[in-house]
């Protein structure tokens, strides 16, 4: 089995669940302990991938067009999917907020403003990133995973090229840029969809809805920080899952699954920390 993540004895362990074979009965405590160990080793390897990616951003090779190609791939792949899902999301959020407001204080003047604030501060970035995690993250894991099982990664390392430099770095940079662009786009879609929902469901005039007075610099900062953080997280986590593919060609399917789940979890955890920090720094 190829060990593409990090050379060295510490990475001889594969830090993820094996293919489902129920004949390993560790008992509850053993299983918990095994999971904890897996998590720690995985966390350490993930951190290693992150640090090395940053290193190669600064010092790695520059390949003409690789960055643009990755950006095109990512954007192309996800824009339709993201637009549809975020459009529906916008409709849902406004509909639910409207119902909520109706019960308490049936005044919709600030509906658009509050919605925009929440969108900018959190929902556009977080929910958009969750969608991107499924589309882009799965794609990255599948591509890199296929390269692992066809031994192309080994071939790369024979040529003294680090797979992280070649494969993850361009996707890392592309993702940060594209995630920001895609989230701004999908946030807009969600907002417009919300505006029409407010109009048709609650008779809120569009001018009233398009109200940006509640959005301040704090919200923008938090929202953009999230875009950057998620954009960085998606390729690192799914790239790591791709590189740690094992189990032959079937392993690619499992790697994709792991990538989606782990990336989604990372986004939620990052969301918590950034939102918390945002609240403490910009309480307005």
């Amino acid at each position: 089995m190829s060990n593409a993540v990090a050379p060295g004895p510490e990475s001889q362990r594969h830090s993820h669940e094996p293919i489902e074979h129920p004949y390993e009965d560790l008992g509850a405590v053993g299983a918990l302990g095994a999971a904890a160990i897996d998590l720690m080793v995985g966390g350490r390897e993930l951190y290693s991938v992150f640090v090395r990616t940053l290193y190669y951003v600064a010092r790695g090779r520059r390949e003409k067009g690789a960055l643009v190609r990755q950006m095109y791939e990512m954007g192309n792949r996800s824009v339709f999917f993201l637009s549809v899902t975020m459009g529906f999301l916008g409709m849902i959020l406004v509909y639910q907020s409207g119902l909520q407001a109706k019960r308490v204080v049936p005044d919709f003047t600030l509906l658009g403003a509050t919605y925009l604030e929440l969108l900018v501060r959190d929902f556009a970035a977080s929910l958009g990133a969750l969608m991107l995690a499924t589309r882009v993250g799965a794609g990255i894991a599948a591509e890199i995973g296929s390269m692992v099982v066809t031994e192309q990664i080994d071939a790369l390392r024979m040529c003294a090229a680090d797979p992280i430099d070649f494969l993850i770095k361009p996707r890392f940079l592309a993702s940060i840029i594209m995630t920001m662009m895609l989230i701004i786009w999908s946030g807009t879609v969600a907002f417009v969809a919300g505006a029409f929902t407010a109009y048709f469901a609650f008779d809120v005039p569009l001018q009233t809805f398009f109200n940006h007075q509640l959005v301040d610099y704090g919200d923008l900062t938090v929202g953009l920080t999230k875009c950057v953080a998620y954009g960085a997280a998606i390729p690192i986590v799914s790239g790591y899952c791709g590189l740690s593919t094992f189990g032959g060609s079937e392993g690619v399917g499992w790697a994709t699954t792991r990538a989606v789940v782990n990336t989604s979890l990372t986004i939620i955890i990052l969301n918590f920390f950034i939102s918390g920090a945002g609240f403490l720094i910009f309480p307005g």
């Binding site: 192309n76 339709f80 549809v84 509050t114 499924t134 994709t256 918390g276 609240f279 309480p283």
Partner: protein
């Protein structure tokens, strides 16, 4: 849903890009229609085997256990963090109006009706749905499914129906569990961040503005999401072609179709269940 056909290397910003984008949209619609049709047919075949019940009980129990155990930790983590995040978002508004007593209601409403079912569905789609597709897809490409048919064992009764029912049940139970944990996470974040005691939070929850119907709405949604995820997962697993890379593609399709389907049905269900 397969990758866009408009991935041509031609990067001119001109009529080429536009027409290939439109072609991509058009073929996407056709694919979506085909997928939706396939899933409906599968639903019919599965339902036909529930009445009278012709579902393998051993497989059902095995899958219920496996899926439940697999998703518990992920749902727990997601729910706790989500509850916390909901409070953080509601906090700005609560502070603005000084309405600490309403924090329970504010965070609770969105969580129970919307966020908990939605996020639980997304996480389970990734964890259980994708896994299920990978398992079924692998069985298809290694001819294990043919082997079942040749042994005169109906694959739908034996393999598909138990998994579908397990996915729906798991999602329902996990949403219930997520609701509780999210509120728990929210209550303690409320205390940590805003100094709102859990008792106040709890009172805000049960103050009468939130009712059982809010919880019920969330649970009905979870069942609908379960249907979507279960159908997508089984459909793409069964339709896998092209060897091992095909399994990877099927997993990709499942995850995406589940996400899109969940959003669309979330909206339709919200609308149907009304105010």
């Amino acid at each position: 849903m397969a990758a866009h056909t408009s991935a041509s290397p031609d990067r001119d910003k001109g009529p080429n890009a536009l027409s290939s984008f439109l072609a991509g949209v058009g073929s996407s619609f056709l694919e979506i229609a085909e997928t939706a049709g396939g899933m409906t047919i599968l639903l019919g075949r599965v339902m036909a085997r529930t009445v009278p019940p012709r579902v393998d009980s051993r497989e059902l129990l095995k899958n219920l256990y496996k899926m439940g155990v697999k998703s518990l930790p992920i749902v727990a983590v997601t729910a706790l963090f989500t509850g916390a995040i909901m409070v953080i978002q509601a906090a700005t508004i609560v502070k603005r109006y000084g309405a600490e007593g309403l924090l329970g209601w504010g965070a609770g409403f969105g969580t129970l009706r919307e966020i908990a079912p939605l996020l639980t569905a997304l996480m389970i789609s990734g964890r259980v749905g994708a896994n299920n597709t990978a398992e079924l897809g692998t069985m298809v490409v290694t001819e294990q499914l043919d082997a079942l048919r040749v042994l005169a064992i109906d694959p739908i009764s034996f393999l598909i129906a138990p998994r579908f029912i397990s996915i729906v049940s798991t999602l329902f139970m996990m949403t219930l569990f997520a609701d509780a944990l999210a509120l728990f996470g929210a209550a303690y974040t409320g205390e940590a961040l805003l100094g709102v005691s859990p008792t106040t939070f709890y009172n805000g929850l049960t103050s009468g503005l939130l009712g059982f119907s809010d919880v019920a709405t969330g649970l009905v949604k979870s069942i609908v999401f379960g249907f979507v995820i279960g159908l997508a997962s089984c459909h793409f697993g069964l339709a896998t072609t092209g060897g091992a890379p095909g399994v990877g593609r099927a997993v990709n399709s499942t995850v995406m179709a589940s996400a899109a389907g969940v959003f669309v049905l979330d909206y339709l269900t919200s609308f149907a269940l009304g105010g």
